[in-house]
C-alpha cells in the first residue's frame, strides 16, 4: 500500500511523482556543462587572484577597524576634545620626551587651577624675590674679587 493512501484520500489515484517538469533534454548534457564549469574555474584562478582571495579577510578586518576608529574617535576629537584630553593619561616614562611647554600645558590641564590662579601665583613669587636698591648696593659693596677672597681666607 502506498504511504499516501494512509495520509490523504485525495491523492489516492496519484503517484508520489513531483508535479514539476524540466526543460526538454535538460539532463542530456548536464555532465558536459558541469565539466566545462570546472575547467573554466580551474583556469580562471590565477596566483594573483588566489593571493587576493587569501588576503580578503585580513583586508576586510583592517578596513573594519579603520571604520570603527573613524566613527568613534574622529567625532569625539572634533566635538569633545576636552573629554578626550581628560581621558588620555600620559604614562610616566613618556614625560621624559615631552618638551617644557607640553609639561606646563599638561600640568595646567590636569591640576584644576585656573589661569587666574597661575597668574596670581607668579605675582606672589615675584613679590618674594624683589630686591630693593639699598640691598643691592650693600651686596655689590660686599662683592670681592679673587685677591680679596684669598686675603680673607689667609686671615
Amino acid at each position: 500500500m502506498n504511504k499516501k493512501d494512509h495520509i490523504w484520500p485525495d491523492f489516492h489515484d496519484q503517484s508520489n511523482k513531483t508535479p514539476f517538469e524540466v526543460p526538454e533534454n535538460y539532463f542530456d548534457h548536464l555532465e558536459d556543462r558541469i565539466e566545462a564549469r570546472i575547467a573554466s574555474e580551474t583556469e580562471s584562478i590565477s596566483p594573483k587572484r588566489k593571493l587576493m582571495r587569501m588576503m580578503k579577510p585580513v583586508l576586510a578586518m583592517a578596513a573594519s577597524f579603520a571604520l570603527v576608529f573613524l566613527l568613534v574617535y574622529y567625532p569625539l576629537s572634533v566635538f569633545l576634545p576636552n573629554y578626550l584630553a581628560r581621558n588620555i593619561e600620559v604614562p610616566a616614562e613618556q614625560t621624559d620626551t615631552l618638551s617644557a611647554d607640553e609639561i606646563i600645558i599638561s600640568y595646567i590641564s590636569t591640576s584644576g587651577q585656573s589661569d587666574y590662579d597661575i597668574l596670581l601665583y607668579d605675582e606672589e613669587e615675584l613679590e618674594e624675590i624683589v630686591i630693593d636698591s639699598e640691598e643691592m648696593f650693600t651686596y655689590l659693596d660686599l662683592a670681592m674679587n679673587e685677591t680679596e677672597i684669598f686675603a680673607e681666607l689667609q686671615n
Partner: protein, 181 residues
C-alpha cells in the same frame, strides 16, 4: 552502471578520475536534481545549485573518508547548498524566516515548469509553509521514500526527531488542506 565503490576507486586514480566523476554525475544527477528542486521549487535555481553541488563534490571527493555512504554524502552537500542558497536569497531580499514560505510560493506560482493540478499546487503550497526542517523531512520521506537512517546521516538529526518532524508536517499539511477547502 558502476557501483559507488568502483567510482570511488577510479576517482583516486589520476588517469580514470575524470571518467569516474562523469559516471558519478550520470548516476546521481536526476535524484539530486529532484531533491534540490523540491527545496527551492524553481528550475533555474535548481540548475545553479545542482552544478555547484557537483563542483563541490569534484573539489572535495579526495577528502571523502567513506564513513558514510556516497549517496548520503552527496545528498548532504546538495541539501546544504540548497539551504545556503535560500539563506542568501533571504539576506539579499531582506526577508525573514516567516516570509521564506511566501518566497517559495511565489517561486511555485511563477515557475513555467510546474505541471500539477490544483490539488497538487495546494499540497506544494502547504509544504512550502512548513518550517525548514519539517519541509526537508517531509519531502525526503514522502517523495523520495528515504529511510530515516539515511535521513539521519544527511540532516544530522536523530531518527526519533525525524519521525516527530514528519508527524508534525503531516498534521500541518492536513490542517492547511482542510482549511483551504
Amino acid at each position: 552502471m558502476k557501483s559507488d565503490q568502483q567510482i570511488l576507486a577510479e576517482f583516486k586514480n589520476e588517469s580514470t578520475k575524470q571518467a569516474a566523476f562523469r559516471q558519478l554525475v550520470t548516476k546521481y544527477k536526476e535524484r539530486l536534481y529532484w531533491h534540490v528542486r523540491k527545496i527551492v521549487l524553481n528550475h533555474d535555481d535548481t540548475d545553479d545549485i545542482l552544478q555547484n553541488t557537483f563542483i563541490k563534490v569534484w573539489r572535495n571527493m579526495d577528502g571523502f573518508r567513506e564513513e558514510s555512504g556516497l549517496f548520503t554524502w552527496l545528498f548532504r552537500i546538495a541539501t546544504n547548498e540548497s539551504l545556503t542558497f535560500l539563506n542568501q536569497k533571504k539576506k539579499k531580499s531582506f526577508i525573514g524566516n516567516d516570509e521564506t514560505s511566501n518566497y517559495l510560493i511565489e517561486n511555485l506560482q511563477t515557475d513555467p515548469y510546474f505541471d500539477g493540478d490544483d490539488i497538487q499546487r495546494k499540497l506544494q503550497e502547504a509544504i512550502a509553509r512548513l518550517p525548514e526542517k519539517q519541509r526537508l523531512v517531509f519531502n525526503m520521506r514522502y517523495y523520495d521514500d528515504l529511510k530515516y537512517q539515511d535521513m539521519e546521516q544527511i540532516l544530522g538529526t536523530s531518527v526519533g526527531a525525524l519521525k516527530a518532524s514528519y508527524h508534525h508536517a503531516v498534521k500541518k499539511i492536513e490542517e492547511y488542506l482542510k482549511s483551504d477547502q
